[in-house]
C-alpha cells in the first residue's frame, strides 16, 4: 500500500508539471500563432495609452520578452525555491510555493488563492454533505420502492435537477429567497471563524443550488447501484440466513452499492475544490472559481497558472484518496 501511494504521488508531480506546461503553452503559443508579439502582450497589462517606454518597462518586469523555456524555468523554480521580485524600493521574497505575481495587481498569487480557498472549501464541503445525504437516501428509498409513486416522483425531480443549469436554479433561488421574500437577504460570505451561524445562513442558498444538481445525480446513481446490488446473490444468501430485511439492505446491500458512489463522490469533490465556478459567480462568492473567471478575463498568466495547478492538484489528490478508499472498502481491490 505504501509503495502504491508513493508511486502515485510521484505520478502526481509529473502530472502537475504537464498541466502547467499545457497551460503555459496555451497562454503564450496560441496568441503567437495568431500573430501577437510580446510588445502587444505586454501592452495588455499597462494602463490606457501607455508610452512605448512604459510598455517596454512592463515587458521587462514581467519577463515577457524572455524565451519561453526561460520563463517556464523561472516559474518552476519559484514553486520549489521561491522567487525574488522587484516590488519597488526593495526586493520582496516570495517563499515557496511561489506562483509568481499577478500581472494586474503585482501582488503574489499564492496568498490571494489561499484567501479564496476557505470560501470554496465551505461551499464544496457543505454542498457535498447535503447532496450525499440527500441524494443517497432518496436513491436508496427509490430503489427499495421501485415502481411506486415515490420512486417515479423522486426520479422525475432528479431528472429536472440534473438537467437544469446551475445559473438557472441559482438565479431563481436568489430571486425568490433573497430578493422577493427576504428569507436569505444579502448573501455574502462570512468566514466560519468569524460567525458560524452567519456563515451557514449565507451559504444555505448556494449549498442548496449546488447540492440540488449533484443530489439528483447521486439519487439516480444510488438507485441504479442499489437495484443492481439488491439483485446480487449474496443478498439472497443474507436473507437465507434469516437476517431482518432492514439489516440486509443496510449492511449487505448499501455497503456494496455505496462503494462506486464513494469513488464518484471523491472525484466530484476534488473537482469542486478547484472552484465551483458558476455557483460562485452567481452568488458572488469569492472562491477559487470566481478567482479563475477573473484571472481569465484579465489574461493574468500567473493567476491562471496558479489556479489551474491548484485545481489539478485537488483533483489528483482526490483521485488518490478515492483509489485508496476503494481498496479500504472493497477487500477484493488491494495493493
Amino acid at each position: 500500500m505504501i509503495n502504491f501511494i508513493i508511486r502515485r504521488l510521484i505520478g502526481t508531480v509529473f502530472l502537475l508539471i504537464v498541466v502547467s506546461l499545457v497551460t503555459f503553452a496555451i497562454f503564450f503559443l496560441i496568441p503567437r500563432l495568431a500573430g501577437q508579439n510580446t510588445y502587444q502582450l505586454a501592452a495588455q497589462y499597462v494602463g490606457r495609452n501607455p508610452t512605448r517606454q512604459a510598455v517596454l518597462q512592463v515587458e521587462q518586469q514581467l519577463g515577457l520578452a524572455d524565451p519561453l523555456y526561460l520563463q517556464y524555468g523561472r516559474f518552476l523554480r519559484g514553486i520549489v525555491l521561491g522567487a525574488h521580485y522587484r516590488s519597488g524600493p526593495s526586493v520582496t521574497y516570495c517563499p515557496p510555493p511561489c506562483f509568481g505575481y499577478s500581472f494586474r495587481s503585482q501582488l503574489p498569487v499564492w496568498p490571494q488563492m489561499m484567501s479564496d480557498v476557505p470560501v470554496t472549501l465551505s461551499l464544496a464541503i457543505g454542498a457535498s454533505v447535503l447532496w450525499l445525504i440527500g441524494g443517497v437516501s432518496i436513491g436508496v428509498l427509490s430503489a427499495l420502492r421501485k415502481g411506486t409513486l415515490f420512486d417515479r416522483f423522486s426520479m422525475g425531480i432528479a431528472l429536472a435537477g440534473v438537467s437544469l443549469p446551475i445559473f438557472f436554479t441559482g438565479l431563481i433561488a436568489l430571486e425568490l429567497f433573497s430578493y422577493k421574500w427576504p428569507i436569505f437577504p444579502n448573501v455574502q460570505f462570512v468566514p466560519f471563524t468569524q460567525n458560524p451561524v452567519e456563515w451557514a445562513r449565507n451559504l444555505i442558498l448556494p449549498w442548496i443550488t449546488l447540492a440540488f444538481l449533484y443530489a439528483a445525480l447521486y439519487a439516480r446513481l444510488t438507485r441504479a447501484g442499489m437495484l443492481e446490488t439488491m439483485s446480487e446473490d449474496y443478498i439472497r444468501t443474507a436473507r437465507a440466513k434469516g437476517l431482518p430485511e432492514r439489516k440486509v439492505v443496510a449492511k449487505h446491500g448499501l455497503r456494496a452499492a455505496l462503494t462506486p458512489i464513494v469513488t464518484i463522490f471523491g472525484m466530484d469533490l476534488g473537482l469542486l475544490l478547484g472552484g465551483a465556478i458558476i455557483t460562485e459567480v452567481t452568488f458572488s462568492l469569492h472562491g477559487l472559481g470566481f478567482f479563475t473567471v477573473q484571472a481569465v478575463n484579465n489574461q493574468d498568466l500567473p493567476e491562471i497558472l496558479g489556479v489551474t495547478m491548484l485545481a489539478a492538484f485537488f483533483i489528483v489528490i482526490a483521485n488518490l484518496v478515492v483509489d485508496i478508499l476503494y481498496a479500504v472498502l472493497d477487500p477484493r481491490v488491494r495493493y
Binding site: 446473490d233 449474496y234 444468501t237 437465507a240 440466513k241 437476517l243 431482518p244 472493497d330
Partner: protein, 355 residues
C-alpha cells in the same frame, strides 16, 4: 409418517408479469423424512429452484403462493413473514450454486458465519467466533483459525463452497437445501463436496434436498428423486426405482442424454428434442407432449388431458403419464438397449423443437 420433516402439498408459485402470469411451480407435492436426501432434477425453468426458494420463503412480495408447506407440522405458507424468517437459517438452511457471488465480498468468511449464527443464537462474539472456526474445521478447511479472517475471494472454489456449507450448518438446521452446489465447481472438487455433504448429513442428522440437473450427482447422494418439468412433478420415487425402472419419457430423455461408461463411445447420445416450454403459456394437456416421442401413442389424450401423478406397480413410485404400464416398459426396454426411436417429430410448436 411420524418422521416426516417436510411436507409439500399442491404448491403453486405464480409470478404476475407484464407478459402474463408465469406459472413457475404449478402443483408440486412431495414429502421428506428426517435424515433423508431428496434429489430434485429437471431442466432450467422446471421450477426446482423456485420450489426450494418457496420453501425458504425467499420470494418477494410479487409471488403468489398457494398450497401448503409443512415444516415439522408448521405451515410456512400460512405463517407470517417474521415467523418464516425466524426459521430461515435456523431450522432450514440453504446453500447456493455460485459461492463466489453468494458470499458477500466485503466481509470475512468468519464474520459471515458469525452473523448467521448470532441471528438465531444470543451468544458473545467470541463464542460465535469459536463456533465458526470449529465449523470451518469440520467442513475440511485447513488452518481454520487463520482462514476465518480471510475474504471469500481469497478462497478457492471448493473451499468457498465448504465455507458456505459451514455457514448453512452453523445453526444446526434440520433441513438443508442445496441448490446446484457443485455446478460451479470442477469435477474433482465436486466429489469432495458431495462427500462432505453426505458426511455432514449423517453427523448433523439433517434432511437434505439436493437440487441439480446432473443425474450423476443425484445418483450419489439421493435416497429419493423428484423429477420436475414445467413446474410440475412428472415422476417421483426412490433412487433405485428412478434409475432402475424410469417410467416417464422425460426421465428417459434425461437418462439417455447422459454419456455412460457401459456404452460404446461411438454410440450416439439421444437428446431430448426441443426447448423448455413457456411458463406463461404452458402447453395444454401434458406439458411434455410437444417434445414427447410417445405422445402419439395415447390417442390424443396427451394434447387435451393433464396426466395426474399416479402410483405405478412399485410402491412409492409415482409417475404422471398417459402411457400404459406395458407401453412404458416396452419403450424403456427399447431405449435402454440402445435403439433410437424411428421418427422425431418435426415442426413442433412452442415447448417443442426449435424452429
Amino acid at each position: 409418517m411420524p418422521d416426516t420433516l417436510l411436507e409439500v402439498e399442491d404448491l403453486r408459485i405464480h409470478f404476475p408479469t407484464q407478459d402474463g402470469l408465469v406459472k413457475s411451480v404449478d402443483g408440486v407435492s412431495f414429502s421428506l423424512e428426517r435424515g433423508r436426501t431428496l434429489g430434485i432434477v429437471g431442466e432450467s425453468g422446471s421450477g426446482k429452484s423456485v420450489t426450494s426458494l418457496g420453501i425458504m420463503g425467499l420470494h418477494g412480495g410479487s409471488a403468489r403462493i398457494s398450497g401448503h408447506i409443512r415444516l415439522d407440522g408448521e405451515d410456512l405458507v400460512a405463517a407470517s413473514a417474521t415467523r418464516v424468517r425466524e426459521l430461515r437459517g435456523d431450522k432450514m438452511a440453504m446453500i447456493f450454486q455460485d459461492p463466489l457471488s453468494s458470499l458477500h465480498p466485503y466481509f470475512t468468511v468468519g464474520s459471515q458465519i458469525i452473523e448467521a449464527y448470532r441471528i438465531h443464537n444470543d451468544v458473545s462474539k467470541n463464542a460465535a467466533r469459536k463456533h465458526a472456526i470449529d465449523l470451518l474445521g469440520r467442513v475440511g478447511i485447513p488452518q481454520p483459525s487463520v482462514r476465518v479472517d480471510d475474504h471469500p475471494h481469497q478462497f478457492s472454489g471448493g473451499m468457498r463452497q465448504r465455507a458456505m456449507i459451514a455457514m448453512a450448518l452453523s445453526c444446526d438446521p434440520e433441513l438443508l437445501i442445496a441448490d446446484e452446489p457443485t455446478t460451479a465447481l470442477d469435477v474433482t472438487v465436486q466429489a469432495q463436496i458431495l462427500d462432505l455433504i453426505s458426511d455432514l448429513q449423517s453427523e448433523f442428522g439433517s434432511a437434505v434436498i439436493m437440487i441439480t440437473h446432473d443425474l450423476g450427482v443425484v445418483a450419489e447422494l439421493s435416497d429419493d428423486i423428484l423429477v420436475m418439468y414445467a413446474g410440475r412433478v412428472v415422476e417421483y420415487g426412490s433412487a433405485a426405482q428412478i434409475f432402475g425402472r424410469p417410467s416417464h419419457p422425460y426421465t428417459w430423455g434425461l437418462l439417455s442424454s447422459m454419456p455412460r461408461l457401459d456404452r460404446e463411445r461411438t454410440s450416439r447420445l439421444v437428446p431430448i428434442p426441443g426447448t423448455p416450454p413457456s411458463l406463461i403459456r404452458v402447453p395444454a394437456g401434458c406439458p411434455f407432449h410437444p417434445r414427447c416421442r410417445y405422445g402419439h401413442l395415447n390417442g390424443g389424450r396427451s394434447e387435451t388431458e393433464v396426466p395426474q401423478l399416479r402410483e405405478t406397480e412399485d410402491t412409492g413410485h409415482l409417475v404422471a403419464c398417459h402411457l400404459t404400464a406395458a407401453e412404458r416398459a416396452k419403450q424403456w426396454g427399447l431405449l435402454s438397449a440402445g435403439n433410437v426411436p424411428d421418427h422425431d417429430k418435426e415442426a413442433v410448436p412452442q415447448g417443442g423443437v426449435e424452429t
